[in-house]
């Protein structure tokens, strides 16, 4: 039974275990990475994101090109799985520990259109989302999992019978009402003004608004001698970093607002607020759209967009791996045209063309 495997054979075995032979050729694919993330989460949660990143990283060590699938890429995949709704980042259940950790989202499905359901959430203990025969109906597309069915199948009722919760599309796609960027900032400024001074905060990083919005990771910086109001993160030794809105005076925090609400995840709040800040500063975040294969558009994004938006585009199109951007989606030309106004009006993004 002991057998030495070459890397391609090992890929094939792992993909077979994940039931992904049909849609993936290697573990480098987004679908495969997302499945490994879900498996690690299923056996590790509640835990901070780092635990899942490391466990997936350990599993692919020796199997993938470490420059192509590094911790950053696994982290991006984990973020995408979380944004899709499979994982929930929440304060710990233990009263003595207020740190944020990842929980499995309860297994659920969303009927986005007649005949199509999207599966959301993760079954604990490595259990498949649905039993054997049904699991063969699952289509994997980026981080999304969907099932198509005919009206005779009555799949939603079957899924309910299997213990999955029916989630309304309006709840899954729920997004804040449209606002002007200055109104968003005013709202957070008002909340920040009510906070007291927090003094020195170790492990604080902020998004430096003066830096190029086309390179998201390069915008993160220590407070240094910065002054003004910034979106930032407070690193916790074990839990997930906490998103904050902070006022700095020569690098020293004077006011601090932890971003968490019952309604939205804290990263969604932070990313949207940063978009508003950039838009008001006259340096809006950007996207780039390229027409490929005649009727498909690859939309490159250079900063993270809120999870409700990612979910929406996971359904309309699919997340793809494209270089020189933070994330990218493939949409049909028709869908892209329909989404364009929302991109500019609700997320205040500006299209980047070769000329700019």
């Amino acid at each position: 039974m002991l057998e030495v495997l070459g890397v391609p054979a090992a890929h094939e075995r792992v993909l077979s275990s994940l039931k992904l032979n049909e849609c993936c050729t290697t573990l480098h694919d987004m679908e495969a990475l997302a499945a490994l993330v879900r498996r690690a989460a299923s056996l590790s949660c509640p835990c901070p994101p780092r635990v899942i990143r490391q466990r997936v990283g350990l599993g692919v060590r020796g199997l993938v090109d470490p420059t192509a699938v590094d911790e950053e890429r696994i982290g991006a995949c984990l973020d995408a799985v979380t944004a899709y709704g499979d994982l929930l980042e929440l304060p710990s259940r233990d009263e003595e520990d207020a740190r944020n950790v990842l929980y499995l989202a309860p297994p659920a499905f969303v009927e986005t259109a007649p005949g199509i359901v999207y599966l959301v959430g993760i079954q604990p203990e490595g259990q498949g989302m649905v039993p054997g025969r049904l699991s063969e109906m699952i289509e994997y597309s980026g981080v999304a999992r969907r099932m198509r069915y005919s009206s005779a199948d009555d799949l939603p009722n079957v899924l309910k019978g299997l213990g999955l919760q029916a989630m309304l599309p309006k709840l899954w796609f729920q997004q804040p009402r449209a606002e002007q960027p200055k109104d968003v900032i005013s709202r957070y400024d008002a909340q920040l003004a009510q906070r007291t001074t927090r003094g020195d905060l170790s492990g604080l990083e902020v998004l430096d608004t003066s830096r190029n919005p086309l390179y998201y990771r390069g915008r993160w910086s220590a407070p240094g001698r910065l002054s003004g109001r910034f979106v930032g993160r407070r690193v916790q030794t074990y839990g997930a970093p906490l998103w904050v809105y902070v006022e700095l005076d020569m690098g020293t925090p004077t006011l601090l607002l932890d971003l968490h609400s019952q309604e939205w995840s804290s990263c969604d709040e932070a990313w949207r607020l940063q978009m508003a800040i950039d838009a008001v500063n006259g340096k809006p975040q950007q996207f780039r759209a390229d027409l490929v294969e005649g009727d498909k558009v690859i939309v490159r994004l250079f900063s993270p967009v809120p999870s409700w938006w990612q979910r929406r585009w996971n359904v309309l199109g699919r997340r793809v791996d494209v270089e020189r951007c933070l994330m990218a989606y493939e949409l049909s030309l028709e869908q892209y045209c329909a989404e364009l106004t929302m991109l500019t009006d609700e997320l205040w993004l500006r299209e980047r063309t070769d000329t700019n």
Partner: protein, 995 residues
């Protein structure tokens, strides 16, 4: 006309005798076939088409209009009853049987049992077994022969799907073992009470399961037509069909694996590889795991991960019941007390440690439970042994306890020590650990371990290894300690990555000391890793040994990896610690009555500051009709047992509509909905006790009737009126089964056949109770201070306290009042005239003033007054449930200050069989025992009756009559805690804080 139609028409004309003959031929042939294989015949395997079944039923009914059931024609009756068993929905077998069988007389119940017995004897028929059969010796026959009643099909398929991962190939050949395995595994699936009772016959369960799961059996275990009928009914509900398909897929895979891995005469399988090692018992893998979680740089929190105690629960029904019932105390943890049932069925749990536990000391102590279980838990879950412990800092940032004393170069470690290292040498840093009683140092083992480091490590009883790295590849394993142990799920292929940091010729790998596989290492290879597949292994423990070889250097590193293959835990119930909202209840499967009467304890935990809504629904009938539904406002998590009691009281019990609905309902469900965080639920069915009381309307008049599903022994019925809860009058059984009308305020009805008892406090539901009716109080004549008389009062109190409530919602309060009245009389009779007056004041108004009166009446003696002060002071601190502390305080006070214990030495009431004590020590033990007895007398007659025999109760009362101060002290403790408890929370208990 088709041939089938002709047959059907012909069958309609068959007489009962002809049916008997036809069925006899059929069952004779089937019995001959089955007897060879050892599988029994079921009456549902009659081989009749649907139309023929209808015709047979009609023939039975027609025959009954002419004469009583005949012994000569028992086979049609057996089939008729089995068909009823198959359709049985779990409530009131005989009333529904009567409804479908005009002319049926309950006196003929024995005929049904005798017919099935004859069937079993003549046709190799199945014989019901288990507690279910003992409690229902008649209806167990038709239900068993109904094979898998409709209402259990969905639950069985769900259980099969959830536990299919834990099946082992050999089980498919042994129905009893298969059934026993499913019975044990199924307990964590949150099935209904009715399913659990069904599963109490493991042979039947195994038989049915084998039939359902083995699609191509070597021999027939159930006739094809009957199996098809059952499977068709299962498949009519798609979710059940999917569960069954999933379970069948797993079973097929396992059976194939079983065939492929049959061992040869040398204990090796066909591939020359040894099967799983017998490494001790299944409890070996069950141990507490210590983990360090970083809180800052060089600062750690200590955690202990306690395993799911399901394997312990599988060791016996008593263990399971105790684990569900008893809370666990973890003194070393910050949480201290864990909610009931939390260690069972929700996976492993991590607790923050506030104090480092004593070396090798038990970590978890159950509050109660059998001594065997306590010993087992104490022996299994222990603190780390020794004075220093190595923790490997894993890639995820956590540091995991390492069993091995060998450290790997380049890796980071935290060493926990009892003694602090004041000035660590260079390369080693002091780390802070946020846990009392332990110190830490932290270091990275250098890539090249020089003499100095070897000495340093040796001083810590550690050593460094050559670098041979092995890690799990591909699917994330269930657990990986970063060193020598990893666990995978049974369906996973175990893939390992192997790497050395030096040149070697070959890497030798073997499994369980079997054939060695030598892997030649190509130094020119572009891949610095070797990937080894160990394959898919069956459940168990294995050892993978890896050794490198090099012609240049004979001393090469070798290592072993312990691979554990574990079952997949099914989780379709939606309860898991991995989800944001976690629910635990006690009892694990509560009945509708448990919930209504406040006897279910419940805890819901979720992320800090999150909120849930709770929806409570009562339903009845099929298809279910909603009789009551209510949603609460948003509630902040966590929900504790106390806050749940308040919630249920406010939203449900205080609602008149709920009181009316509960009597008609067959199911009560509670759903906690937390939006995107998910939901969790409790579904409770009405109790299906063999002797029970049920309310019904006869000609618009509310009645209460006794339902006797036992039917084997003569039943006696008596009634205790609410106004005189100690009095008793006999009632004719026929009247009780027919239905009793009852005037307000009702009372306690008890039916017993000497083995089983069904008791209910019944208050007829009225349109609206007047204030005067609400104020109705029971009364008991003054009792003589004699032990025998007081025993009667206590047993009456136990009957009241242990009874279910029926009818009006006020019945709960009336039950409490009656029980308290009886207890107060016992305490008054023992306590003396002054104490009687104090009891009267307390009964009229349980205020602080009344409590002060009781304290005042405790004693005149200044020394003994100290005991009263100790009790009143302690009551504030004892809450919420620290019964042990209350007993200790009372015992201590009595032993030190009570005059009654100063004269003569007491001997214990019970002989424990332990080492004989000296007379003074025995005296102290006897005081402790008497105080415990007194606390039970004063707080819970049911607990008293469960704990002591009649003669022991009489002995105890005699001792208390001689030392009334002890009972007065116990009673003061009970009411003082109750007073504090009532101020803090609503409570349905007889006395708050004494649940």
């Amino acid at each position: 006309m088709t041939a089938e139609a002709t047959d059907e028409t012909a069958s309609q004309l068959l007489s009962l005798g002809e049916w008997h003959e036809r069925l006899g031929e059929h069952f004779s042939a089937l019995a001959a076939q089955r007897a060879a294989g050892g599988w029994p015949v079921f009456a549902l395997e009659h081989g009749l088409e649907l139309g023929e079944v209808m015709a047979l039923k009609q023939a039975v009914r027609d025959a009954l209009t002419i004469h009583a059931p005949s012994e000569r024609h028992f086979l049609p009756w057996v089939v008729y009853a089995a068909e009823h068993g198959y359709r049985f929905a779990g409530h009131e077998f005989w009333p529904s049987f009567l409804k479908l069988t005009p002319g049926w007389n309950d006196r003929w119940r024995h005929y049904i049992r005798d017919s099935f017995k004859k069937f079993a004897a003549s046709y190799y028929g199945a014989v019901p077994e288990g507690i279910w059969n003992e409690n229902r010796p008649i209806i167990s026959w038709p239900i068993t022969h109904g094979i898998l009643p409709h209402d259990l099909q969905e639950q069985l398929t769900r259980v099969l799907y959830e536990v299919s991962g834990s099946l082992e190939p050999w089980l498919f050949g042994d129905p009893l073992a298969l059934g026993t395995h499913l019975q044990e595994e199924g307990r964590r699936c949150h099935t209904s009470m009715r399913y659990r009772e069904f599963a109490e016959d493991p042979r039947l369960l195994g038989h049915i399961t084998a039939a359902l799961l083995i699609e191509e059996p070597e021999r027939e275990v159930l006739s094809k037509r009957t199996l098809k009928r059952v499977v068709d009914d299962i498949n009519s509900v798609r979710a059940s069909a999917e569960f069954l398909t999933g379970a069948r897929d797993t079973a097929r895979y396992l059976r194939l694996r079983g065939l492929a891995t049959r061992v040869d005469g040398n204990g090796r399988d066909r591939d020359g590889q040894a099967p799983a090692l017998e490494i001790g018992s299944s409890l070996d893998a069950l141990r507490a795991r210590f983990i360090l979680r970083p809180s800052a740089d060089y600062e750690w929190d200590a955690l202990v991960e306690l395993p799911d105690l399901e394997p312990v629960a599988r060791r016996g029904a008593v263990f399971r019941a105790d684990l569900e019932r008893c809370r666990a105390r973890v003194d070393a943890s910050a949480a201290k007390l864990l909610a009931r049932g939390r260690l069972l069925g929700s996976g492993a749990q991590r607790l923050l440690l506030s104090d480092w536990p004593t070396s090798n000391a038990p970590l978890v102590e159950l509050e109660g439970g059998s001594p065997d279980l306590r010993v087992l838990i104490g022996a299994t879950l222990r603190a780390l042994n020794g004075e220093n412990h190595a923790f490997h800092v894993a890639a995820d940032g956590m540091a995991y306890q390492q069993v091995s004393r060998v450290l790997r170069p380049g890796e980071q470690y935290v060493i926990l020590r009892r003694d602090a290292v004041e000035k660590p040498v260079e390369g080693i840093r002091k780390a802070r650990i946020r846990c009392a009683g332990i110190h830490a140092i932290q270091f990275t083992v250098p890539s090249v371990v020089d003499d100095l480091w070897q000495t340093l490590l040796a001083n810590l009883d550690l050593r460094a290894a050559h670098s041979l790295e092995v890690w799990p590849v591909g699917l994330c394993p269930v657990a990986w300690d970063g060193g020598g142990e990893a666990s995978w799920l049974e369906s996973d292929e175990v893939l390992l990555g192997v790497r050395t940091d030096h040149l070697v010729d070959t890497i030798d790998v073997s499994l369980n000391g079997g054939a060695v596989r030598s892997i030649a290492c190509d130094t020119q290879s572009s891949e610095p890793f070797t990937i080894v597949s160990v394959g898919r292994l069956l459940k168990g423990a294995y050892v993978v040994s890896i050794r490198t070889r090099s012609a240049l250097s004979p001393s090469q590193p070798a290592g072993q990896l312990c691979v554990r293959i574990v079952s997949r835990l099914g989780t379709t119930s939606g309860r898991s610690e991995r989800l944001p909202v976690a629910l635990a209840t006690y009892p694990a499967v509560p009945s509708l009555e448990d919930i209504w009467e406040g006897k279910m304890q419940l805890a819901v935990r979720g992320p800090t500051d999150s909120h849930i809504r709770c929806a409570i629904t009562m339903r009845a009938g099929k298809p279910a009709k909603i009789l009551f539904a209510k949603s609460t406002n948003r509630v902040r998590l966590p929900v504790t047992s106390e806050s749940w009691d308040r919630l249920f009281q406010k939203y449900v019990r205080d609602d008149k509509a709920a009181g009316e609905a509960v009597e008609e309902s067959s199911e009560l469900s509670i759903v906690f909905e937390a939006g995107a965080l998910g939901s969790c639920s409790v579904r409770a069915e009405r109790e299906f006790a063999p002797l029970r009381w049920a309310t019904r309307r006869v000609n618009r008049e509310a009645k209460i009737a006794l339902i006797d599903d036992a039917g084997a022994l003569p039943v006696r019925v008596h009634f205790r009126p609410y106004e005189r809860p100690d009095a008793s009058e006999e009632i004719a059984l026929a009247d009780a089964t027919e239905g009793l009308g009852c005037l307000f305020p009702g009372g306690l009805l008890i039916g017993t056949d000497g083995v089983r008892t069904g008791a209910a406090v019944y208050v007829p539901a009225l349109r609206g109770l007047s204030q005067e009716q609400l104020r109705t109080v029971p009364a008991v004549p003054q009792a003589r201070p004699e032990a025998a008389a007081l025993v009667s009062l206590l047993l009456a109190a136990a009957e009241w306290q242990g009874a279910r409530v029926k009818g009006d919602g006020i019945a709960l309060e009336f039950r409490r009042r009656a029980t308290r009245t009886l207890l107060a009389e016992v305490c008054s009779a023992v306590g003396g005239p002054t104490w009687r007056r104090a009891e009267q004041v307390w009964s009229a108004d349980d205020s602080d003033g009344a409590l002060a009166t009781m304290k005042q009446s405790l004693t005149d003696h200044p020394d003994e007054r100290i005991v009263g002060a100790m009790i009143i002071a302690g009551a504030q601190e004892w809450l919420p449930h620290d019964v042990a502390a209350r007993l200790t305080t009372l015992t201590d006070g009595v032993a030190r200050f009570a005059r009654c214990t100063k004269t003569g030495l007491l001997a214990p009431m019970r002989q424990t069989g332990a080492v004989p004590l000296s007379a003074p020590a025995a005296h102290l033990a006897a005081i402790h025992e008497l105080c415990e007895f007194a606390l039970l007398v004063a707080s819970s007659p049911v607990a008293l009756a469960n704990r002591y025999t009649m003669s022991e109760i009489e002995t105890g009362l005699r001792r208390l009559l001689a030392r009334p101060f002890i009972l007065r002290g116990a009673r003061l403790a009970v009411v003082a805690v109750h007073r504090c408890g009532v101020l803090l929370q609503a409570s349905d208990a007889l006395y708050a804080g004494w649940e």
